[in-house]
């Protein structure tokens, strides 16, 4: 058994320079920046949709149509949708990478996650941009007041 070799002090350890992509740094920073914006957007969303007036009891098509007819709420909801979905997808990605150990499981779970997120982001975006607050043939009593006769 040979004696272990001990390097001279202050010569052994060299911190390697950061290499590869900075994607994980960008993801880390995104979680914090989007988090701050989401606190404002989601608290505002909850105050208007769940707290003011009759709370959850005033939610119906007319209420949503009245909001989504305004560019202000369109931009609000669009920003909230994209930031929340990307923030949540990256959070679940982190959890998958923490707990799933087999490479196949890690890949499969991530693919399912990304597919589901893409579908929800595309669907939500289409709804915001193609929304019709006064659909023809609908029961007028269910529509917002500005639809008229």
């Amino acid at each position: 058994m040979s004696a272990p070799t001990i390097p001279a002090p202050r010569t052994g350890y060299q911190r390697s320079k950061a290499k590869g992509s900075s994607l994980e740094l960008a993801a880390w920073l995104f979680m914090r920046l989007s988090g701050i914006i989401l606190v404002v957007l989601i608290f505002g969303h909850l105050i208007v949709n769940l707290w003011m007036g009759d709370g959850v009891h005033r939610l119906n098509f007319g209420f949503v149509a009245g909001k989504l007819a305004s560019p202000f709420w369109q931009i609000w909801d669009l920003t909230m949708l994209w930031l929340a979905m990307i923030h949540g997808t990256n959070g679940v990605r982190t959890i998958i990478l923490d707990y799933a150990e087999r490479p196949g499981t890690r890949l499969t779970l991530q693919m399912v996650l990304y597919a589901a997120s893409a579908v929800v982001i595309v669907l939500g975006t289409l709804v915001i941009f193609t929304f019709e607050p006064c659909p023809t043939g609908a029961d007028p009593s269910l529509l917002p007041s500005f639809c008229g006769a």
Binding site: R32, G35, I36, L38, V39, I42, F43, L46, L50, W51, D54, G55, V56, H57, L59, N60, F61, G62, V64, A65, L68, L81, A84, M85, G88, T89, G91, V92, I95, D98, Y99, A116, V120, L123, G124, L126, V127, T130, F131, E132, P135, A138, D139, L142, L143
Partner: protein, 127 residues
């Protein structure tokens, strides 16, 4: 991920449990968000279809679900801001336990404010 069977410096207390709760609330909110975008997408189908589904959110059982949802969101929000404070501010790590209890205080204030409106709103028809 490390699989320590013995205690480590980071086990237990505010630091670990806030991390656990942040994950649990985060996953819960994410799955609700998937469902919530789908139910909102029904405004594109018909006013009747949207109203039929959104009316299910108005039952007493769902009113309790909304309390759990808001509790989870408020926790994730304030604990997230605490994480940011610990990451970016000098002295953040030293005072992380104080910051955690400040976050919990803000959480309690939000919950009282929410329940004050939500209980009469959602259970008003019963009492």
């Amino acid at each position: 991920m490390a699989k320590a069977s013995t205690g480590t410096l980071y086990r237990g207390r505010e630091g670990m449990w806030s991390w656990v709760a942040h994950r649990v609330t985060g996953v819960g909110i994410f799955f609700f968000l998937l469902v919530h975008v789908l139910d909102t997408a029904l405004v594109r189908v018909s006013p009747g279809a949207y109203n039929a589904v959104i009316d299910t959110y108005k039952s007493p059982l769902m009113a309790f679900g909304e309390v759990v949802l808001v509790a989870a969101i408020a926790f994730h929000a304030f604990n997230g801001l605490r994480v940011i404070a610990v990451d970016f501010f000098k002295g953040g790590t030293k005072h992380h336990k104080t910051l955690f209890w400040v976050a919990m205080g803000l959480w309690a204030v939000v919950m009282v404010g929410f329940l004050w409106r939500h209980i009469p709103n959602s259970l008003g028809g019963i009492f």
